[in-house]
Symmetry: C2
Subunit: 433 residues, 2 copies
């Protein structure tokens, strides 16, 4: 059983959580591989797609918990793929498949790194595996699973997914994540849309929502919710330096962002904002007539979806309360629905797992990049806060800037796959010392 | 050939302008009826559904132009009709059919009133007929037709449709209409929606549109566009009195408006606002993700549909310029598309056609209600401004408060149909004296 062959077989089984396609086959395949390696394996239906838990106990005092996901994004638009998305065809030393970069490649690289260490009798740390099947649909049942399995999941450190290589081939070591609060605000004023000749005498919920939204952002662009900024932890000097080392190209970023107008032009401002500024973002507005041409109505309802990206140590539930207070104070009479709440995390630069992965990276890749936290959100908070494992890092990923995760022609380089195996092995060896 | 039988045959032919269903059959039927009555009839394809023009010249010095439409609204939701919408079934002295109230009943009542006068040799005024087939889709080609046929359409007065009976059975005489400016504002910032982890560094068009919309309304609710209110013609004392006489019931209005929160509770305030206040209304907003659950994106585009209802003598094109100036001044970089512009109208209470219809109403119904203009919009401005016929009124309609125009179970009372015939005849006799 060879790593690359197993990866290809794994990639050929669809596992689309949005539709359920192939989930069962994937779970069976993966758990069989784990068992054959000698991992004690359990499949638990946590409410949605199963969680696969695995454990290797080598009698060490230290345990590392490895988190990955086995589900993938849908493949649309299919006609933009040059090979079928589940063919896993090799071309120019790359493998093309949905899930290759996000996240099956990383999962298999780590698994075979550990198999190899076990085969050689060199695994010096206990390892637990948590593979979920709903990451691409918001990890909807993960918190529930973690809350139910706190004892089983006990560990000293957590190795999360979500890392990748930069355009110079340097691996990213990510010390944390932004948090998230996702809300849906709605105002429903009546039983039906009205003819707009009634506009002089009835209230239009769109106008009231415009006032509500406008009240959330100050003229200087800051978010106008009491206490919004008060729990933000300043970057340490060391962390500030990390930002300076983070290398991006303005023109490339702008192009990759579809030519949106940018808030900043200076590279340092962009990096600082991306990684350390919290945001209040409108994701969508649904209201009234949006078809061709004109229809004269007073819409009875408006729904606004918003996400707040939070930075350490903002608390999504505290922000939610602040938002509720704010909306109450300006007379908002509608509904606030919470669609997501995840806590931000920023692990210390001097934590054990960070040191282990950093030193291993130096050896395998010659260099590395560390950032204090990602611009996006992952369920790292569940490990740090719900399980209380402070020592958490997102590192060791097989993707690179050409990998197209979530898009057509997702792919990884086989060189990066083998480097990730080596990186995992050295990290575990460093960690166990 | 009897009026009621002809009405029933007419109602049994669908004429849905939104889909085109039955338009050709309707035009043929109606023009044959007109010819058989002795009206010189022409069918002109004005770009969309044909306009039917008719003319009777009795050698009078005065000519009255009658405007109606032969098209109807779609019939959805079909399952809420107790009889098929084009069955024209008679029940309890009412006829149920799509178009019975809006506007085929009125059209046929007027036509047979004139036939009867001709038969008796009592028609003392020249009559021209303009029947359009696109009223329910915004009279899209009417201005074009009118501009092309200015000579043919010359007349001293215009009798518009759009009137009805109030809950006491009193006919409404409407001296004018509100105008309309319909615009679509759009902001498009990029080639695609972005992951919302980019919210700290790119501009979100939704936020910029919120600022734009918020700038249009002052805290006191007034519209914040330079010169917006400056051309408004004050009501005369006589017109103010008309408002006082206009009778509505607060509870009934609120219920009929689907329980929307009302801006006013006092009956007089409601009437005054409905008929004499201009508005800036949001009809719909299309932006970003509006499906189930959460999706974290920075939408690249937002589109807002808005209508301004205007009162005499506001000019939609002047308001449009004011809006453009305003948006420019606050840095709006998007597109402004004009989807409709109609001028408001308010005819003098002492105009000839108003006097004729008012005195006729007194005789037929015992009473009447006059309002200075309707809350809604009709293409009356095309007759008053493009053709220069200042003497215009909307009067003589067969609908009543149970008629359900644009809704299932549209119907009219046969008594009201016959009264409308009588009302037309007396109006024409009064007018010709």
């Amino acid at each position: 059983m060879e790593a690359k062959d197993t990866l290809i077989r794994f990639l050929r089984i669809p596992s689309i959580s949005a539709t359920g396609e192939g989930i069962e086959d994937t779970v069976n395949f993966l758990s069989e591989i784990m068992k054959s390696i000698g991992i004690k394996t359990e499949i638990e239906k946590a409410g949605g797609n199963p969680v696969i838990f695995g454990e290797i106990n080598v009698g060490s005092k230290k345990t590392i918990l490895i988190y990955n996901h086995y589900d993938v994004q849908p493949v649309d638009p299919l006609n933009e793929w040059k090979h079928p998305p589940f063919s896993a065809i090799e071309e120019n030393n790359r493998i093309y498949a949905r899930g290759s970069s996000d996240n099956k490649g990383t999962l298999i690289a780590r698994l075979f790194a550990i198999k190899d260490l076990m085969d050689k009798g060199e695994l010096g740390v206990n390892v637990k595996f948590l593979y979920e099947g709903e990451e691409e649909i918001g990890s909807v049942h993960l918190e529930n699973y973690i809350e139910k399995n706190k004892d089983k999941l006990k560990a000293n450190s957590v190795l999360m997914e979500g890392s990748s290589l930069d355009y110079k081939g340097r691996p990213l070591i990510v010390l944390g994540v932004k948090g998230l609060l996702y809300v849906e605000l709605s105002l429903d004023y009546g039983l039906k849309d009205l003819h707009s000749s009634n506009a002089p005498i009835v209230k239009n919920p769109c106008w009231d929502m415009v006032k509500v939204l406008n009240s959330l952002i100050r003229d200087d662009g800051n978010i106008d919710i009491d206490g919004f900024y008060e729990d933000i932890r300043n970057l340490t000097e060391e962390e500030e330096e990390l930002l300076d080392q983070y290398d991006i190209n303005y023109e490339e970023i702008k192009k990759s962002l579809g030519n949106f107008p940018m808030k900043y032009e200076n590279k340092n401002d962009i990096v600082k904002a991306l990684l350390t500024y919290p945001t209040c973002n409108i994701d969508g507005i649904d209201c009234g007539y949006t078809g061709e041409g004109s229809k004269t109505i007073v819409p009875h309802k408006i729904v606004v979806k918003m996400d707040f990206r939070l930075v350490p140590d903002q608390d999504p539930y505290k922000i939610l309360n602040g938002l509720k207070e704010k909306l109450k104070s300006i007379g908002f009479s509608g509904e606030i629905k919470v669609l997501g709440a995840e806590r931000p995390v920023r692990t210390s630069l001097s934590s054990e797992i960070v040191k282990a992965t950093k030193n291993a990276a130096k050896e395998v890749y010659g260099d590395y990049i560390i950032i204090p936290n990602s611009a996006g959100t992952q369920p790292m908070g569940l490990f740090v806060y719900n399980l209380g494992i402070k020592d958490a890092v997102s590192a060791i990923g097989v993707g690179d800037p050409s990998s197209n995760p979530h898009a057509p022609n997702e792919s990884i380089s086989l060189d990066n796959f083998y480097k990730a195996i080596k990186h995992t092995q050295l990290t575990l060896i460093n960690y166990s010392m």
